[in-house]
């Protein structure tokens, strides 16, 4: 992080993009956006634009990667070359390898891995445009894709970051705050089970600030969870709608 004193928050406590400290960026979530995947989702979180697709459970390829007593979740987090200011090489970077791992480990607690031994679920995440907080937005979308694939889950997983900018703990850092701020704390959370499945931090925070950031991020997660729920139900609501319409018609008859 940078120790330049930058002005990311004005005197009234308003951030560069007009948000208050505990305000989320605008979010848009859509489920079932890719016809070839078993499940899929699209998220716009601030200027982040991310697609996630889930395949399986299916036979593992290569076969020796299958486990005798559980299902294997594989995740690939990948950024499109055009997703950032300077073209990113399409070859997976060390950052992408690490993020693929922590994203996988944030989703695994939500799955009943012991149910389908010897199989695998693949989750592919493509960041089409990055704007700070891509790992969090990726997790939110990936959880929806897995649910949409009909894979049994304990809970949805939803993620959001908090951090420290100009001496203030703020929610959901955008690109500039991420780069110039003092600390970033991404958190993934299963709201029904009150369980944190991803927790990272960089920057410097006092133990008290760290706690406040984690709490603020969890609150952000709870807000995004409501939108996540809504997005998932919207796709399947079609069925419900037909029912209600039909029933109304019957009454009229």
């Amino acid at each position: 992080m940078n120790d330049k004193s930058s002005k990311l928050i004005d005197k009234k406590g308003i951030r560069l993009d007009g948000r208050k400290a505990d305000e989320l960026r605008p979010l848009k979530l859509q489920v079932g956006v890719l016809s070839n995947a078993d499940g899929s989702a699209y998220i716009e979180h601030g200027k982040n634009k991310i697609l996630a697709a889930a395949f399986g459970p299916r036979e593992m390829h290569p076969k020796h990667l299958a486990l005798a007593d559980r299902m294997v979740l594989r995740c690939r987090y990948h950024m499109a070359p055009f997703s950032v200011q300077e073209r990113k090489s399409p070859a997976p970077s060390r950052r992408e390898v690490e993020l693929s791992k922590v994203i996988r480990e944030s989703l695994e607690p939500a799955l009943f891995l012991e149910l389908y031994p010897r199989t695998g679920v693949d989750v592919f995440i493509e960041v089409l445009q990055a704007d700070g907080g891509t790992r969090c937005a990726s997790i939110t979308a990936a959880a929806l894709a897995i649910a949409d694939a009909g894979v049994p889950m304990r809970d949805l997983v939803v993620a959001c970051a908090a951090g420290k900018v100009d001496n203030t703990i703020v929610l959901d850092l955008h690109d500039e705050e991420d780069k110039l701020g003092d600390a970033d704390v991404p958190v993934a959370y299963m709201p029904s089970l009150d369980a944190v499945t991803l927790l990272q931090m960089d920057g410097i925070l006092t133990p008290d600030e760290f706690q406040r950031a984690v709490d603020m991020a969890m609150n952000g997660c709870k807000k995004i969870y409501e939108m996540q729920k809504e997005a998932l139900k919207t796709k399947y609501m079609v069925v419900k709608d037909t029912e209600e319409k039909e029933e109304d018609e019957e009454v009229e008859e």
Binding site: A68, Y116, R118, Y236, V239, K240
Partner: protein, 233 residues
């Protein structure tokens, strides 16, 4: 000890459904005396049991199930069959050939080759072994004609209907033979393409509206109307 849903409410994974003195039905799980949903589906309670019909699920093999699969690979002493499940099924050469199987003489791909469709029954399956199939019973074997359609496997019981009422009505009204693979694959064979298409349209409607009331009446009506249309010219 409440429940937290209305009848046939749409729920998503992780939603709390009931607390205390209830039994977890399909597609639900228990954690510390609370029942949660595992999948997207419609929830209902029947005599203290919380049931959920999943709107999205995949087929998990069960011994005795009739399934329709596609031959994916011809192996050394049998075939690998895709049954639209997390597990591929195996069909042994000895099950198909009536005489003893000799790898040096028998060209397996002459019997069944990749892409062939078969109706088969699952004879064995457990957590550590892939499902084994048999075609050695009446009505099972290679499919040579008809049309295939895929539905969400959880919808098959609705296509069958109460005591088979729905499926017999469709068969009768469309003059089609219909084989329901419990893996969500359905084979429709009729005298004309029109008959087959009608049966498929009807089954798709059932899949779409499987959780609505008065479905049987609407299907009956649909079948009658379409039959009339066909006979009119």
């Amino acid at each position: 000890m409440p429940t937290y849903f209305e009848k046939k409410q749409l729920v998503i994974p992780g939603e709390l459904l009931a607390e205390g003195d209830y039994l977890p039905g399909e597609n639900t799980y228990v954690d510390e005396n609370k029942i949660y949903a595992q999948r997207i589906g419609l929830v209902d309670v029947d005599n203290k049991k919380v049931n959920m019909v999943a709107l999205r699920a995949f087929y998990v093999p069960k011994v005795g199930d009739i399934v329709i699969g596609t031959v994916a690979e011809v192996g050394f002493n049998g075939w690998t069959v895709n049954i639209k499940s997390p597990y591929n099924a195996m069909l042994r050469a000895s099950d198909v050939l009536s005489r003893p199987f000799k790898p040096q003489n028998d060209e397996l791909s002459a019997v069944l080759s990749a892409g062939d469709l078969i109706v088969a029954k699952i004879v064995s399956y457990d957590r550590s072994h892939d499902p084994q199939l048999t075609v050695g019973e009446p009505g099972l074997g290679k499919i040579t004609r008809g049309q295939i359609l895929n539905v969400v496997p959880t919808k098959i019981p609705r296509v069958i209907g109460r005591k088979g009422s729905m499926i017999s009505m469709i068969k009768q009204e469309t003059n089609c033979q219909i084989i329901l693979g419990l893996n969500g694959v359905i084979l429709v064979t009729g005298k004309t393409v029109e008959d087959e298409e009608l049966a498929i349209t009807v089954i798709k409607k059932i899949e779409q509206e499987s959780h609505t009331s008065g479905l049987t009446d609407r299907i009956t009506q649909m079948l009658k109307e379409n039959k009339v249309n066909v006979e009119e010219p």
